[in-house]
């Protein structure tokens, strides 16, 4: 039922939530079976662009998919110009997603940094009970704040101190000291490294969603690997495909 496929879908709406951060709703059943933390490949139309763009799923319903992404180059620039009724080509759902059962009976804390925040929404909605969500932003434009407040106890940090506490999501973690028994995190690599160190110090599990340049998105090209502590079962070297074995890894599995 979770088989991935490619489909041409229709944009329902798109808004700019913060400078360069776009919120797109897409009419599709592609995400009907999607798990929190999975992603889709979005195919630009411009012929000069060869590769699809991996974008995390922010929210998935039976007939609707929501992506929140940052304009980072030619492809996402093109997507940001789409309006209601425009066609958009997607493949998905891809990757493994966040493991939910591991949080059973544990107090989970969700950590997001920048454009790593969006997948936390589906995750917060998928986990039982109410979680603590810590999100690190650049400034006071706290995109997805209202949605995240509905899904959990939300705390923000901003780099410029214009909202929440000043600093990054790790500073928020140290400031608010939530009594975490399991961590889920998505964000830039320095943040993920810090989350890993924090979790190891406290001997709690942490699931990290990694990012890498991808070409195929389905595990064929071996472009998006990360270094693993143990030999990977598929590759037979200390490398796992982020698009297929990931993007979510337990912190102790990966050498980041």
């Amino acid at each position: 039922m979770k088989q991935k496929r490619k489909a041409v879908c229709r944009v329902l709406s798109q808004t700019e939530m913060a400078p360069g951060i776009f919120d797109m709703q897409i009419e599709t059943d592609l995400g009907a079976q999607a798990l929190a933390g999975q992603f889709v490949m979005v195919y630009p139309k411009a012929e000069s662009t060869l590769l699809p763009r991996p974008i995390s799923i922010c929210e998935a319903e039976d007939t609707k998919l929501r992506i929140v992404y940052r304009v980072a180059g030619k492809g996402t620039e093109e997507f940001s110009g789409y309006g209601p009724g425009d066609q958009i080509a997607l493949m998905g759902p891809l990757g493994n997603g966040f493991p939910l059962l591991e949080a059973d009976g544990k107090r989970a804390v969700l950590l997001g940094g920048g454009i790593g925040i969006p997948p936390l929404l589906q995750l917060a909605k998928s986990l039982p009970g109410r979680q603590t969500i810590l999100a690190g932003y650049r400034d006071h434009r706290l995109f997805l704040k209202e949605d995240l407040e509905k899904a959990g106890d939300f705390y923000a940090a901003t780099e410029d101190g214009s909202a929440g506490i000043r600093g990054n999501v790790l500073d928020a973690l140290k400031e608010y000291r939530p009594d975490a028994e399991i961590l889920y995190a998505c964000g830039p690599m320095p943040m993920l490294r810090a989350v890993k160190a924090y979790a190891q110090e406290r001997e709690i599990p942490a699931y990290l969603s990694l990012e890498e340049r991808m070409a195929c998105g389905v595990g064929a090209c071996l472009g998006c690997v990360c270094t693993t502590v143990k030999r990977d079962g598929h590759s037979h070297v200390n490398n796992a495909r982020i698009c297929t074995e990931g993007p979510v890894f337990e912190a102790g599995e990966v050498d980041i």
Binding site: E212, V218, G223, C224, N239
Partner: protein
């Protein structure tokens, strides 16, 4: 029914459409999108005598009309390949061409010998990967070295041997002639062109390996030209590839003298590309009253 069957070194292919090595794994991942039974052949990712970890990331960078890759021939080694990947492909009614890589002559030969008893139909010898420091392209940029490794592999190989040539040479026909003279049964070309992209925001290379292999539509005219030149220079069959995205692109290669074509990076922008290239060739034949694909192979010269 149009005739699309072609033959290379006595092996028949139901049609000339193959995958290009390194872009299609061993077929498993893309089998959800492409009916492998439709393809003339699946050409597998390069396999070495032992597992190779490949290069650090980033390994991929998009460029105008194409992409750079510096995977560095990550592969699980011949043992896993024989136990897992070849049996998977055996379920399908398609030919299998196994791409072989190595750091030394001995490593190439070891893999070729292991494949001797396997169901591989042809062996494609990778002497043209620009992303590894030892072996590979070192054998493919010097005609004498190419002759030597081809002759050595031909002595040990139980299957017909296809030498995959690098475009990163002054005269590709010199390499084609060396391969032919050493007994190669066919040649395939082109592998990627060495390129570089600089990330101007980070003031560093876009790829951890600094350089990478350029593929995609951007390289197609170079590939067509080189296939044409080689077709004039040697008599052995040519498998042509480089930026093929649709049937019309493939027809260009066939007309330039390729007996078969490889679909590579196009699978990334369209996971069904290989099957659609075949549809496009059949459509071209229909529209132009071509009864047999051989009517167009090498028709431009």
């Amino acid at each position: 029914m149009k005739k699309t069957e072609v033959s290379i070194a006595g092996v028949t292919f139901k049609n000339p459409v193959m995958t290009a090595s390194g872009t299609f794994g061993s077929g498993m991942e893309y089998s959800e999108f492409v009916d492998l039974n439709r393809l003339g052949a699946v050409v597998t990712k390069g396999v070495a005598s032992t597992p190779w970890p490949g290069n650090p990331t980033p390994r991929i960078a998009e460029v105008y009309g194409g992409m750079l890759n510096a995977i560095g021939l990550q592969n699980p080694g011949i043992d896993v390949f024989l136990q897992r990947d070849l049996p998977f492909l055996a379920q399908y009614d398609t030919r299998v061409i196994v791409n072989v890589c190595g750091k030394t002559m001995e490593e190439y030969v070891a893999v070729v010998e292991r494949l001797g008893e396997s169901r591989a139909d042809l062996l494609e010898i990778n002497v043209s990967c620009p992303n590894v420091k030892e072996g590979a392209i070192a054998f493919g940029q010097n005609a004498d070295a190419l002759y030597a490794i081809t002759a050595e592999i031909k002595k040990k190989a139980r299957q017909p041997v296809v030498m995959k040539l690098s475009p990163n040479v002054t005269d590709i026909t010199e390499m084609a002639r060396a391969a032919e003279a050493a007994g190669a049964d066919a040649i395939s070309l082109i592998n990627t062109l060495t390129g570089m992209k600089i990330d101007i925001q980070r003031r560093t290379f876009a790829l951890a390996n600094k350089t990478g292999g350029l593929s995609g539509p951007a390289i197609r005219p170079i590939a067509v030209r080189m296939v044409y030149q080689c077709a004039q220079a040697v008599k052995i069959p040519i498998i042509g590839m480089g930026g093929i995205t649709c049937g019309d692109d493939a027809v260009e290669f066939l007309m330039a003298g390729a007996t078969a074509v490889g679909v590579g990076a196009a699978s990334f922008s369209n996971p069904c590309a290989a099957a659609e290239v075949l549809d496009g060739i059949e459509d071209y034949m229909e529209r132009n009253n071509v009864e047999d694909i051989h009517e167009i192979i090498g028709c431009v010269h």
